[in-house]
Symmetry: C2
Subunit: 255 residues, 2 copies
């Protein structure tokens, strides 16, 4: 079943370390804050085949796909063509985009600039705040530019359209090691598949815990039940501290 | 043709922003310094199917695969099983690893701790510096733990085994916009497929250039030839400055 979001970061400059990847990290943080589950992130080069494959793979698991990069007038800007191919749609030049490109570039409207007016047939144009170029959206694939300032602005417009689900989380910091906790974690994770249980060891002896266990679910009573069951597996003095939080309650959105 | 490296970051904690992803960024930087081309990075949850799919996909394009995370004794540590499945190999318990795990954990050697002794059949064990647990390597897939300090240490052991190719790069900073440069970039990129040409616009008016063009190749004369051909497409006073560098010459390695 497709659910949540997937992200595709397009760019040789990221894979070759010419720029530090920022957009994936920002997207991960913002989706978390909105309570939208992220199913996968993939970074691929500016190559049609690689992007097509990534889009097809993302669409097998995720409902909404955000792409970053490869939107522009040069030879290495192939995201729109690749997304169209993956969706089985032709690329068409949209009259409304031709108008906007021509208005923006004026006398500098080269044939290459007009590539910015191409979109998969049937694409919807979303109006972002603070920039003239619309967001191309087609079959729940949102094609954003890779320039970080533009990506961030446009992402907010996309997020407003996605339903937000509150997520309840609890973190328990423990003095025990993972191999001692594993049996209890396994048992509870198996018995409560609707609760996401994670365990994260750290090996710095100057820090006051050895493993952080995280418990997450969309229903708070399930988080509490899982916490109770887990606690039965370890001595009370093994717990250094507990934290809790609820995510995804900002803004409007469906449950 | 498979070439270069691929990276698979396994971890719900990364996708859910519980921890900031560090290992992918570190790997990208170190591969660049070694002159090893990175073909793709993908971040997937702690789920067997997702990891199997990512490994299979990575192996279609990359020669060497590095995985981060999902190596450990708990229920969410499924990387070894998933890699074995993707490689078509059974998972076996290695006597040498049983010995090392037992020596390390002593009286705390639980049945769960012994999961650390499992590996795809035929796996090779590499000895990293500074940690007791060996690196599992099988069919050019290197399975590293996700804890950043361990990942970094173990990655160096892996990198020593990969051939390094020098890469010559030149960056040209220009006062022109991408739509004006696109025609020349297209022509040279098409005529010189062995040279990687990238163009990266920036929109901050306080910075002294509008587009950075990058030219990269394994042979320096090809970089120089591409730079000459590109320069013929723009007025000389459009160039703000030029930088050059050679990567991948540290340490031993094949050409």
């Amino acid at each position: 079943v497709r659910s949540g979001a997937g992200a595709i970061i397009v760019g040789n400059e990221v894979l070759s370390a010419k720029v530090t990847e920022e957009n994936g990290a920002h997207l991960i943080k913002r989706l978390r804050q909105r309570g939208i589950r992220l199913r996968m992130v993939t970074i691929v080069p500016d190559e049609i085949d690689a992007i097509v494959d990534a889009v097809e793979r993302a669409r097998r698991v995720a409902q909404w796909i955000v792409t970053s990069g490869g939107v522009g007038p040069t030879h290495d800007d192939v995201t729109v063509r690749a997304v169209a191919l993956a969706l089985g749609r032709p690329v068409v030049r949209l009259p409304r985009l031709v108008e906007e490109v021509t208005r923006h570039f004026g006398e500098r409207t080269t044939p290459e600039a007009l590539r910015l007016a191409d979109a998969p047939e049937g694409a919807e144009l979303l109006e972002p705040r603070g920039t003239w170029y619309p967001i191309l959206a087609c079959d729940d694939v949102f094609m954003l530019p890779g320039v970080p300032s533009l990506f961030r602005t446009m992402l907010e417009t996309v997020l407003e359209r996605l339903p937000s689900t509150p997520l309840h989380t609890r973190s328990v910091y423990l003095k025990l090691g993972e191999s001692e906790l594993a049996h209890g974690l396994d048992a509870v994770a198996l018995a409560m598949p609707d609760v996401a249980i994670g365990s994260y060891p750290q090996f710095d002896r100057s820090i006051d815990y050895r493993v952080k266990v995280t418990i997450e679910a969309t229903r708070l009573p399930r988080v509490e039940e899982a916490a109770r069951r887990l606690a039965a597996h370890w001595p009370p003095d093994a717990v250094v501290r507990t934290e809790q939080d609820t995510l995804g309650e900002e803004g409007p959105g469906e449950a």
